[in-house]
Structures are given as structure tokens and as C-alpha cells.
């Protein structure tokens, strides 16, 4: 098929800007000519659901959909993706609303280590997309992806189930709405059209390029949803007074520093997060979108990026309700969107960090409301402390999972 792509000539040592669509979001990556699509997805866009096994077309781990058809992303140059629509496993379903194939794989124990699963999901999606599949042909049709764990029976059973349930074709990928944020900045990085900034060229000052220019309401499924409710001893007017004063509010947020007030209820600032060996400092913008005095409700949009290509956007709702005995219940609800390498830590760890951050924030708000004073900029727990707490919680959870896995594996 003539691709309709524009003519280009790129020298061996040059970088090329490539624009295409991934899971419904337009993206731009800046890559060397020899980089394959899988590396662009993983390294430039942080979409590490696409796995790499052999990198020469044999194992099928890297299978994605390109313009609707399953293809090996290790056998497509990133530069060849110009203008195409790519769907990766991240686009297939959401954690809360999985694609029927994902549910069937789970139901039939069609995975053990899970390394082959993204490849199998997209290969089988491609097979079943148009319906009319003869179940007897499944072993041959699914031979393009290898699995070293399961012995294939669970996989075949899962795909056969879905084939039966959807004889006229399986539902389309469920997580392909245009998203506000994907990608990493800097050389070899990616960005999303519609955010107003294209991929920064290597010459552009990294600092200037990474601080977001504008904030948009994020769409799609958040990486983490936080809902914290805390009972505070201070009366609701005092708590609201803190919430309503961005300067004091910012100081209650652990690791946060307000650096500029830009007008139109928009602020520039920096939030430091520490997690074990990880140190992240996000520079970004926050805008107050709702100040509901009667309801004691404050809504904010925040967006930040760090030098390592990590990005976050959050929608935050803070509400103070009066409770008996003159106290206040402070609700903090947040939808947090992460991309870049931090997204790899998975929902659990990111969720822990956010949850802990808001809990400490609530305590600091209470303290500030009680004392009536403005806390010093370093108030609240140090980022390190958050990290240690979360890491401990995560370690305990991992240990529990491991124990459980060992027990089930060996029937202890």
C-alpha cells in the first residue's frame, strides 16, 4: 500500500522527527533512523507494555497493531511509523475495564510470567477483530507468538472462548481516547500534539522545554486515583482559610515550593518526591479552577515535568465539611496521570506515594489551621520520609505477595 508518507532523506547520524498516533493520542518522537518502533514506544514514550525478546522477528513479544493489523514492532523502523495509527497493549483496555481478551486470559490462567501476554493479546485481537475464525485453526494462527511458560493450552482456551463469544468480531480496543500527556522530553523523546509544544530539538534549553506552558484537563483513565478523608480538630472556617490561601496551602504539601504567582489564579512551583534511591523534582503549573466558598471546596489542575522525561497531571478536589464537636472532615480527591519512567512503577507504588502525600498534607493543614501561622516552606514531612514510608509499605506488600505465590505454587 502506498503509505502517502512525505519524501524524506535522513543522514545516518541525524535524528528524525516522526509523527504518528499511539492509542488515540498524536505523538511526536525524535529518533535515529536505526531505532525500531518498539524502542520508540518503550524508550521515547514510556509505553513499556510492548516487550522485546529477540529483536529479529521470531518471538512475537513486540506485536502491536499498526493501522489495524498486528505487526512486529521490532521489524518496523520508528521512522516508518510516520502517519500510522499504532495500538499497544496499553490501549487495549483499562485496569478497571479490561478488554474481553484480557478478562479471558485472566480467567483461563493464560499467563504465568506475563512476558508474552501483550504480544498474544494483540495477535489474538488481530485474529478475532473481523470474526469468522475456525477454532481448529487457532494453534496455527497463534503460532506467531512464543510462550515459554504456559504450554499454550490456557492461551488457546482463552482465545477460543472470546472467538465463540464474539463470532462477528471482538470489541475495539477500549483505551484509545486522546490523552493529554504521553511521552518524554529532550533528545529522542516524545511529546503530544495539542499540548502546544512539539518535541524539543536538542539545542533548546532543557529547562525551558520541560516546564509546561499551559494546563489542560486530562482525559482518559488516571494512573492513580486518590481519595483521602481526614478528621481535623480545627473548625471548618480555619481549615478553609488555609485552603483558600494558595501560599499557605502550598506549604502544607510535603516537598512543595511556590515559585511564582502568575495571575488568573495560576501558580508556578516545584514539588520534590523522594522514593528510595529515586529523587524526582517536578517543575510545573497549578491553576485553581473552582473556589466554592459556600461549600468550602477548592478545585485545582496541576501539571509538572522533570528533567528525566517524567510527566504528571493531576485534578485535585479539596473539600472541608463541618463535623460535630467543631471539627472538620477534609476530603482530598485526586486523579493523577503519570507518564515516563515513573509510570513503570505501576499503580500500586504511585498510589501509595500520592496517598501518603495527601495524608501528610491533611495533617499539615490541620496544624496550620490550629496555629493560625504560616508554616515554614519546609513544613510537612520531608520527601525522604514519604519515600521511606511508602517503600516500607511496598516492601511489606511484595513480601506478602511473594509468600502467597510461594504457597500457591508449592501448595504449602
Amino acid at each position: 500500500m502506498t503509505t502517502g508518507q512525505p519524501a524524506v532523506k535522513i543522514a545516518a547520524d541525524a535524528l528524525v522527527e516522526v509523527r504518528f498516533t499511539v492509542n488515540g493520542s498524536p505523538v511526536t518522537v525524535t529518533v535515529p533512523t536505526r531505532m525500531h518502533l518498539a524502542d520508540a514506544l518503550r524508550n521515547s514514550l514510556g509505553l513499556t507494555g510492548t516487550h522485546l525478546g529477540c529483536e529479529h522477528g521470531v518471538c512475537g513479544m513486540c506485536t502491536v497493531l499498526v493501522d489495524g493489523d498486528a505487526a512486529r514492532s521490532c521489524l518496523i523502523l520508528a521512522v516508518q511509523a510516520e502517519g500510522t495509527e499504532v495500538v499497544t497493549v496499553e490501549g487495549l483496555g483499562t485496569p478497571d475495564e479490561q478488554h474481553p481478551l484480557q478478562r479471558a486470559f485472566s480467567h483461563h490462567h493464560a499467563l504465568q510470567c506475563g512476558f508474552c501476554t501483550p504480544g498474544f493479546l494483540l495477535s489474538s485481537y488481530d485474529l478475532l477483530a473481523r470474526g469468522g475464525v475456525d477454532p481448529d485453526t487457532l494453534p496455527a494462527e497463534l503460532s506467531g507468538v512464543l510462550c515459554r511458560c504456559t504450554g499454550y493450552r490456557g492461551i488457546l482456551a482463552a482465545v477460543a472462548d472470546v472467538a465463540r463469544a464474539y463470532p462477528d468480531g471482538v470489541p475495539a480496543p477500549g483505551n484509545c481516547t486522546a490523552r493529554t500527556i504521553v511521552g518524554r522530553g529532550g533528545t529522542g523523546g516524545g511529546s503530544v500534539a495539542g499540548t502546544g509544544s512539539s518535541a524539543p530539538s536538542p539545542e533548546i534549553d532543557a529547562e525551558a522545554a520541560r516546564v509546561p506552558e499551559a494546563i489542560q484537563r486530562p482525559t482518559g483513565t488516571p494512573t492513580v486515583t486518590v481519595a483521602v478523608a481526614r478528621e481535623l480538630s480545627s473548625p471548618v472556617q480555619d481549615v478553609w482559610a488555609v485552603l483558600n490561601d494558595v501560599e499557605r496551602l502550598a506549604r502544607c504539601l510535603p516537598g512543595a515550593v511556590l515559585t511564582a504567582t502568575l495571575g488568573a489564579d495560576t501558580y508556578r512551583g516545584r514539588v520534590a518526591v523522594g522514593l528510595g534511591p529515586i529523587r524526582l523534582a517536578f517543575d510545573g503549573l497549578a491553576r485553581v479552577t473552582v473556589r466554592d466558598v459556600a461549600d468550602h471546596r477548592l478545585e485545582l489542575l496541576a501539571r509538572g515535568a522533570d528533567t528525566g522525561g517524567n510527566r504528571t497531571t493531576a485534578e485535585i478536589v479539596l473539600r472541608a465539611d463541618p463535623i460535630a464537636a467543631g471539627g472538620t472532615r477534609l476530603h482530598a480527591d485526586a486523579r493523577v496521570f503519570l507518564s515516563g519512567r515513573i509510570a513503570q512503577f505501576g499503580r500500586a507504588l504511585a498510589g501509595d506515594v500520592s496517598q501518603r502525600l495527601f495524608e501528610q498534607f491533611a495533617e499539615a493543614v490541620d496544624e496550620t489551621a490550629r496555629s493560625g501561622s504560616t508554616p515554614p516552606p519546609t513544613a510537612g514531612a520531608s520527601p525522604l520520609a514519604i519515600g521511606a514510608g511508602v517503600a516500607r509499605a511496598a516492601f511489606r506488600r511484595r513480601l506478602a505477595t511473594l509468600r502467597h505465590a510461594v504457597r500457591t505454587r508449592f501448595r504449602l
Binding site: M1, T2, T3, G4, Q5, P6, A7, V8, K9, I10, A11, A12, D13, V16, P32, T33, R34, H36, E55, H56, G57, V58, G60, T63, V66, D69, A70, A71, R72, C74, L75, I76, L77, V79, Q80, S123, D126, L127, P139, A140, E141, S143, G144, V145
Partner: protein
């Protein structure tokens, strides 16, 4: 594994593509589906200076039927050919394509790229050879037409020059009374064949007019033989497959000259060829007589 750095050019006209190959002065490589080329680059078995991506070249993406010929352009993927109703006019393509690698490879790999790559174990060169397809080749000095018999020159070697491009392949469409067969034995579905056969028999009023067999994976290129006499005499027997089998043993000794490898010795591949050839000639004969192609 990562390829060494290369320049990448994506022309949009055939003339520009030919110019780019000429400019690369022997260090250029055409990138079609990339399903054979990219693994070779990844393993650093090849270090071309420039890749000339032909996928955006206008006019190479057609599947066209003109009278008794089906013309498939250079950028038509194997999967497009598999799905296309026009391509059904060449039933052997429908029989062979599902065995070319896997679905995920066929969605990028091209029909012409497979012919140009000329792997001895590949299916499509054997189909082209059995049917007497013709390749259209364009280069700095103009166009030429080459029959499949003169195109394959050895393992992964063809008579296409380094500054030439295969722009299309022309397959003859199935004639009335023509029947076909295809079979291969591979270690796994989607692998290159240890041995395979493509068969064609044409008959009218029960008389065998001509018959051809092509073996692949048995030599350094597809091997095609006229077996009209053998099939005509077997057609008179009640068990024509058994009758054919006697003849295909002799044929196997002549055409199977691969030295073999750890996956199958020469003797084993001879046996595969002999059995498959008899079976698929018998099938082609049945189909030809039943008017089923």
C-alpha cells in the same frame, strides 16, 4: 540487537528511488516490508549505507487484473494479497500465503520482497516458478521483463542488479481445467519449509494436457519440472497417487540436491519431496478434473 547506523531515504516516485539507489553506489538496499531485511540488519549481517524505503513510491501498490494476468505491485503486502478477491484468481497464492511466516509478518512483508529475497525455503518463489510468473524490473536504463525461470539465480540471489527495483510480478490467472496443490513440512507453522511442493495440472475432457511440479527447500532455488507424462499415465490408474509415487521417487533423486542440515538430511528431504509431490499432483489432478482449480 541494533543495526549499525544507516541513512534513510523515502522517495515518492520510482525515478527518485532508482536515483537514490544509483547515488548510494552499491551500498544502498531497498526496504520493502523489512521482514527479512531488518532481522539481517539487526544481526549486523548486513551494513548498508542507505536504506531506500519504497513504500511511499506512487504506483507500486496495485493489485490489478488484466485479462489473463494478475499484476501485484512491489509494495503490496502478503496479507493484502491474501485478503484481496482479485488475487483469488490465482488460487496458488491463496494456498501458499498462509504458510509465509506468520500473520504478523505478512501484514508488512511484500509479495515482491519475498521474491527478491529469494530464500530457498520460501513459498512464493516456488509459486512464481511453478506458474511461470514474470517479473517487471526497473533500473537506470529502463524497464525489462524477466520470467521466473531466469530470475532466481541461487540462494538469496536473483538477477536483479543493485540499482534495479522489482516493480511488479505478473501471475497467470487460473485457466479452465487447471487444478493446483500445495504442501510443505516445516518444524513449526510459519517457519521456512524443510521441503515443500507446488503442483499444477491442466486437463480437458479427462485428458491431462500439462502438469508441473515445483519443489522448494530442496535446492538453492525453486526447482520446476514438467511432469505431464507422469501425471497423464497415472491419471489412467484407479489409485493415481500410488501410481505417481513411483515416479516421484526418481524425481526426488534428481531435484533434491540440498546437503541437508541438522533439521533434516538430504535423504529425509528426498522422502518428503517424493511423498508430498505425489500427494499434491494427485490433488491437483482431482481438482483439475472436477473443475475446482
Amino acid at each position: 540487537m541494533k543495526p549499525v547506523a544507516f541513512a534513510y531515504v523515502r522517495p515518492t516516485t520510482l525515478d527518485d528511488a532508482i536515483d537514490e539507489l544509483a547515488a548510494a553506489a552499491g551500498s544502498g538496499k531497498i526496504l520493502a516490508g523489512g521482514q527479512s531485511l531488518l532481522p539481517v540488519l539487526a544481526m549486523r549481517l548486513s551494513r548498508p549505507g542507505t536504506l531506500v524505503d519504497i513504500n511511499a513510491v506512487a504506483g507500486l501498490d496495485g493489485i490489478d487484473r488484466a485479462q489473463e494476468t494478475l499484476r501485484i505491485g512491489a509494495t503490496v503486502t502478503q496479507r493484502q494479497a491474501e485478503r484481496d478477491r482479485v488475487a483469488a484468481a490465482v488460487p496458488l497464492l491463496g494456498l501458499a500465503l498462509p504458510f509465509v511466516g506468520h500473520r504478523e509478518l505478512r501484514s508488512r512483508g511484500t509479495v515482491c520482497g519475498s521474491l527478491a529475497h529469494a530464500d530457498p525455503g520460501a513459498e512464493l518463489p516456488a509459486v512464481a516458478s511453478c506458474l511461470g510468473a514474470t517479473l517487471e524490473i526497473a533500473g537506470p536504463t529502463g524497464r525489462r521483463s524477466v520470467p521466473a525461470a531466469d530470475f532466481f539465480a541461487g540462494a538469496m540471489t536473483t538477477t536483479v542488479g543493485p540499482d534495479e527495483i522489482v516493480v511488479a510480478v505478473n501471475f497467470p490467472v487460473a485457466a479452465a481445467g487447471e487444478g493446483f496443490g500445495f504442501a510443505e513440512i516445516a518444524r513449526r507453522h510459519g517457519d521456512f519449509a524443510l521441503a515443500g511442493v507446488v503442483s499444477r495440472v491442466r486437463s480437458a475432457q479427462g485428458q491431462v494436457l500439462d502438469a508441473t511440479i515445483t519443489g522448494f527447500g530442496v535446492s538453492d532455488r525453486p526447482v520446476t519440472r514438467d511432469v505431464t507424462g507422469l501425471v497423464a499415465s497415472a491419471a489412467e490408474k484407479t489409485d493415481s497417487e500410488a501410481a505417481l509415487r513411483a515416479g516421484t521417487d526418481d524425481l526426488a533423486r534428481e531435484v533434491v540436491n540440498t546437503v541437508g542440515d541438522g533439521h533434516g538430511s538430504r535423504a529425509y528431504r528426498r522422502r518428503l519431496f517424493a511423498v508430498l509431490a505425489a500427494r499434491e499432483l494427485a490433488r491437483a489432478l482431482r481438482r483439475s478434473r472436477a473443475g475446482q482449480s
